[in-house]
């Protein structure tokens, strides 16, 4: 029993980090219907920033979010300006964005491999090897910090969307773009800002990834598969859905890993993806989409 609860605790802790990773992806989809295949490649890019900042300047990977988030925000805005503003109103925008972000992921992978080679990396701050105890249970300290930080960032994001003026405008654009225009929202600007925020969230995820997981340029394929299955399960474009999907699948994969061995835990995501697409393609909290 204690063992199972311990595994559950690992699952929940990991779920918080997954939720942060998925939140940016789902926000970008929600506002612009862009399936950003390059989301995880950008996460890896940010992980390299955090890794080298730690390696060369001993900057704490957690504190590195103050660098990765603004840098990645600007990078997101630039990517949006260069690639997306020109294709937004063509007929096949949906398919185009998938191809575009797919190629962006490939280019990023290539550039990162060229610059930093394909060696496995992981930052090792002191807390990466320590544990924190809760009665009979424990969590690696780094994991605990990462989860707390992830949840805090998600809460901030939610408050921003719920109460700020720009947050209102972003939600309005998500819900009804035509109506948002009628009340005077600059929809194009909101799309750019949300893309920036989405990529800034990838930046924060990268900072955490730099010490939680080992990474190398090609690693982003595994991550994007996981993240897409999380947000498809929860309902694409729904922030709450991303949270539900992240926690459910992180817990499920932790349990599967415990009972059947760690080689089996990745399959949890894809099995869940197949099942949800068969049973409820719009996801748990998603809305049915018009054809």
């Amino acid at each position: 029993m204690t063992q199972t609860l311990q595994v559950l605790l690992f699952g929940v802790a990991l779920g918080g980090v997954y939720a942060l990773m998925a939140s940016g992806l789902t926000l970008v989809f929600g506002v612009m219907r862009i399936v950003n295949i390059s989301h995880s490649a950008l996460m890896i890019f940010a992980a390299y920033i955090a890794f080298f900042a730690f390696q060369n300047y001993s900057l704490d990977p957690i504190l590195s979010i103050f660098i990765t988030m603004p840098v990645m925000f600007l990078m997101g805005v630039a990517i949006y300006k260069i690639f997306f503003s020109s294709i937004k109103s063509t007929e096949r925008t949906g398919e185009l964005t998938v191809l575009l972000t797919f190629s962006l992921a490939l280019v990023l992978e290539g550039v990162m491999g060229y610059l930093w080679t394909n060696v496995y990396r992981s930052a090792n701050p002191s807390y990466a090897t320590e544990a924190i105890f809760f009665g009979p249970f424990f969590l690696p300290k780094g994991q605990f910090y990462a989860t707390v930080l992830s949840v805090a960032i998600i809460i901030l994001l939610w408050l921003f969307l719920k109460y700020s003026r720009i947050g209102y405008a972003i939600r309005a654009t998500m819900q009804n773009q035509a109506a948002a225009q009628v009340v005077g929202v600059n929809v194009e600007r909101m799309a750019m800002i949300s893309f920036g925020i989405g990529i800034a969230l990838a930046g924060a995820s990268g900072s955490l990834m730099s010490y939680l997981f080992t990474f190398y340029p090609g690693k982003h394929w595994e991550w994007i598969a996981i993240l897409l299955s999380l947000i498809v399960l929860g309902g694409m474009g729904s922030l709450a859905g991303a949270l539900v999907g992240a926690f459910l699948l992180a817990i499920a994969s932790a349990l599967v890993g415990y009972h059947f061995g760690p080689t089996w835990s990745p399959i949890t995501f894809f099995l869940a993806l197949f099942l949800i697409l068969l049973v409820r393609p719009q996801g748990l909290l998603g809305k049915k989409m018009e054809a």
Partner: protein, 247 residues
């Protein structure tokens, strides 16, 4: 006094053909205008061109002597022209109150905005009652009220309604038209596009018949209502058999 002048505008979507072809119209302050015409005549396009959702390819739109044909929608809203689109265009997962708040999105003063929202809520008791409900849970008539109420947050001088009675039951339609009268009585200039042309004209001072992107006829609403040619062509009046034989 002429408040809005549309001078020979042509407009269309993307790289498509012109929907409006050299249309002109003068709008007098405080009057209600009903724009009628067959499908595809350019009625909605005209409203979109006035409020900056679509920029005319040529010609000018002048509001109080100022050329607004190149202005953005938020600038035009700020000047006092509001638009209620055909599908009511609400934010389904926002509450009634949040929808009203979006109506005042371009206002930066939060206090002022709160006051204006309260004012709209006192005008529409049904919306006040449902103020914390998501707008998707409202009935069709309530949604239309909300869409109109949302524009009133900005206290516009001109309000443009695109087929406000579309898809509503006759009793509710009646309420919407009474709303139109109320807007006129409060001093607003109303431009109404109506599929229900007869009803729309009854509640208007001036009627214009659009066809193929131009202003085919215009005149006092009752003249238009009683003009036999217009009745035949645009108001769907059936000729009786005897007359038909005579023609």
């Amino acid at each position: 006094m002429t408040i809005l002048e549309i001078d020979n505008i042509s407009a269309g979507y993307g790289s498509g053909p012109n929907i409006l072809k050299g249309l002109s119209l003068k709008v007098e302050q405080g009057k209600t205008y009903c724009v009628i015409g067959p499908n595809g005549a350019g009625k909605s396009t005209l409203l979109r061109a006035i409020c900056g959702l679509l920029h005319p390819r040529s010609g000018r739109v002048t509001y109080k002597g100022e050329d607004i044909s190149k202005s953005r929608t938020d600038e035009i809203l700020m000047k006092g022209i509001s638009f209620v689109p055909q599908d009511r265009s609400l934010f389904p997962d926002m509450t009634v109150k949040e929808n009203l708040r979006m109506g005042g999105y371009i206002l930066k003063d939060r206090k002022e905005l709160d006051q204006r929202i309260e004012k709209v809520l006192t005008m529409f008791p049904i919306l006040a009652e449902r103020s914390s409900q998501h707008s998707k849970t409202l009935s069709g008539g309530e949604q239309q009220m909300l869409a109109i109420g949302r524009t009133l947050v900005l206290q516009p001088e001109i309000i443009m309604l695109d087929e406000p009675s579309l898809g509503l039951a006759p009793k509710i339609t009646q309420q919407i038209f009474e709303m139109v009268s109320f807007l006129k009585e409060s001093g607003m200039t109303v431009i109404l596009v109506e599929q229900n042309a007869r009803k729309g004209l009854e509640y208007s001072d001036w009627g214009c018949v659009l066809d193929l992107g131009t202003n085919r006829f215009e005149g006092p609403a009752d003249t238009i209502l009683n003009d036999p040619r217009i009745q035949e062509l645009y108001l769907g009046k059936r000729r009786n058999n005897g007359q038909e034989g005579a023609e």
